[in-house]
Symmetry: C2
Subunit: 506 residues, 2 copies
Amino acid sequence: MSDRAQQTYAAVCQQAHQIKLLSTMEQVLGWDERTQLPLDGAEYRAEQMTYLAGQIHDLRTDTRFGEWLDELSSSELAADPRSDTGTTVRQLKREYDRQSCLPKRLVEELSRTAVLGQHVWQEAREEKDYQRLAPLLEKTIGLKKEQAQALGFAEHPYDPLLDEFEPGATVQQTQAILEGLRDELVPFVRSILDTGHQPDTSFLRRHYPRAAQEKLGVEVARKFGFDFQRGRLDETAHPFCTTLGPHDCRITTRYLEDFFPSAFFSIQHEAGHGLYEQGLRTECFDLPPGEAVSMGIHESQSRMWENFVGRGAAFWDWCFPQAVEAFPEALSDVSCDAFFAAVNQARPSPIRVEADEATYNLHILLRFELEVALLAGEIPVADLRDAWNAKTEEYIGLTPENDSQGILQDIHWSAGLFGYFPTYSLGNLYAAQFFHTAEEAIGPLDEQFRHGEFQPLLTWLQKHIHQRGQCDTPAELVQDVTGQPLDHSYLMQHLKNKLEPLYGLR
Amino acid sequence: MSDRAQQTYAAVCQQAHQIKLLSTMEQVLGWDERTQLPLDGAEYRAEQMTYLAGQIHDLRTDTRFGEWLDELSSSELAADPRSDTGTTVRQLKREYDRQSCLPKRLVEELSRTAVLGQHVWQEAREEKDYQRLAPLLEKTIGLKKEQAQALGFAEHPYDPLLDEFEPGATVQQTQAILEGLRDELVPFVRSILDTGHQPDTSFLRRHYPRAAQEKLGVEVARKFGFDFQRGRLDETAHPFCTTLGPHDCRITTRYLEDFFPSAFFSIQHEAGHGLYEQGLRTECFDLPPGEAVSMGIHESQSRMWENFVGRGAAFWDWCFPQAVEAFPEALSDVSCDAFFAAVNQARPSPIRVEADEATYNLHILLRFELEVALLAGEIPVADLRDAWNAKTEEYIGLTPENDSQGILQDIHWSAGLFGYFPTYSLGNLYAAQFFHTAEEAIGPLDEQFRHGEFQPLLTWLQKHIHQRGQCDTPAELVQDVTGQPLDHSYLMQHLKNKLEPLYGLR
């Protein structure tokens, strides 16, 4: 390998290191904003973050950086695109090319509109009035179309937006996989509803003291393998996971004292994200081989720990006695079976974040279809609410009571996040397929979960997924790990295995 | 005023704005490090902070910035050095000149040695062994001498170091004022000890539940005027105050459940710093007119609220019933008079941070004298412990049991902070003189404190001190506000007024 290429590679790594130092600072500022910031501090914090975003953009689009990456792309270091050096060159160049396509004015306007959008969205949501948000959304979609044009696309203007969150994914493929799922899921949900049976869930709404919720949640997260010496758990309005350094991953939750599942499952969900982050190779924290590959794969980890582990019968065999001990007043007259049934209730509901494992994907599907149509200019923003309500009726089987329960329930669109929603369902699909493969490789997981043993699953995930970083595309990763492309049948099988017995369908 | 000067001034303000954005980010990272950071996150955080420090240094020493400031120094905008524009130009140029004198290598080495120094200090302190720290201290002092040479000085190499924390102060002046204080304070403390009387303080060591301490501390800080919508209170090992934005000032404390004064007075102390920060003019947050003038003046605010207000008899007339309510088990058999006497006990002790209001200044004096001698090369680092112990015997009247109780008790020297200690005593002296002037201006403050009225004092401090920012030097400020230069007699009078009756000397 030439000295010159090695020197250039070192310079590229140094630049990536600086970018990472700044982007992790952005995460510190963001975490602090959402968990600590005094009420009046928001405006200046936005200014700090905007400045930092500009600095990061400057480093990412530094033309010298681009020249180095061009030079390296044809060097021996990039000959194997899935080696660590090849991945570094390929992915940094991908990011450089993407960022360089975007005029700084557009980047700034997108950032400004996103910050503004969150305020407008909050007001509109409080007033349950979509029309309050429509003008801003019109502007946002205009900017997103401009962004799509700048990034370029072969088939659909939505493709480059989706590609940001799920590299390599396209409308066509995603449509195919989600529609395949839909065609089986809709009749399956119908068959559940047709049983006329629903489990008792009333005890989930008893009093669950906050301190005991936190204690149990931390215990379970620790048992899953989340390392609190390299992370922490805090309280926020909207749970999230963020990484502030190679040994500093923070998760948050929201405690509702009158609804047990809210904090408990969100801690498991965010811990799942955290386990992925903590499982990445810290020695290349700065570089793509040490970074998460996509939002969909990220979500597969959180969904796996939340749904495939944490909502499983075997898990509750292990955990329920601890839950009874933690909440004697709420749970002393409840059986483990009844509890398991309650936390797995499948029933259409208007709100995505409250949806169960089965109907959740229908919420995503309708959003995905609307996003695609918006970008293609097939639905005017003025008609969006009607389209939303019609699709909710079609897929979920109910009409939102008002805009807050409907089109205004999610922050994503007002924050400029188009292309993000489908990664939630992709995450469910990946999770099912990975979980199936893991079980084939390391034996019946239920037996392990029943004894509180989660390390074998985590070790498998670390080896086959976390430590790969961005060395594969999501599609390559699925193919390599599971031996076949993404297939919706694993998720359907998981749902049927769990729900059919619960609803007397088997 | 010329258009050209106005344009240059705008560019300078823009640069100052950027410097402030980065330096407040540094504060966010620092606050997070000291209150939130997971154990394993420290190393990367140090890297983030070092990088940021480098970025800030680059902006501060940008030669174009220096040229703008040179140009403005001879413009009409700087004609009145105490106007807002004059202050901005003068102080930014002062900072530019100081920073530009220092080679980047020295800045980096000072930063590295300071970070390293804190670890070495901790180890040495745990092992009670000064020799563990001596080699590092040798290096640090070498760097500080080099820094002093680079900054330049007319009389004493300690002057430019002191000037960093207390602009305009010199060894000669500071020696004069502190020795004047010493000559009265030493015999005064002797006369107290000669009474053979000490108040009962045993009840201060009863059980004070943490939650009740926090509640009372917050109530008092709020009553003083600390705005929790623009700030917050958290827990740390070493209490501090930091400003993260124009509306984001954070204070911290440490709760000891078996020693009431620790958290209570440190909250008041840090709230005093916070009131100064919150009282600065937010519209010029980025610029010197909106920044604190010196560490000594800063300390005068914290000491005033802690000692002149919070340890006063009138304050306890108001607060003691609330304290009894907060801690019924600890205080139901204690009288307000006994409590007041206990929290004002004057008695030599080996540890500075535990010292009382009177003997505290003797701790500072010995440190100041040793620092000055070290910089002048009059004491070799190898002999420093003996010199420390001899001076402790001379001023405090006791010999430290071991190095941890003696020369290793403070972090300052290992962190490269030379010139900082005297600002603590200057703060006490300023506080006494300002408090005297405030009382002359707005009437007997005790009457107000007895009714829980603190707003008049705060309003006076805001108008005469906080809102001046850096428009005056500390010496000008004292002269303007009190009509005379700094004079130790006000502090002596305050101590005599309080302690003579308590010790039967009046």
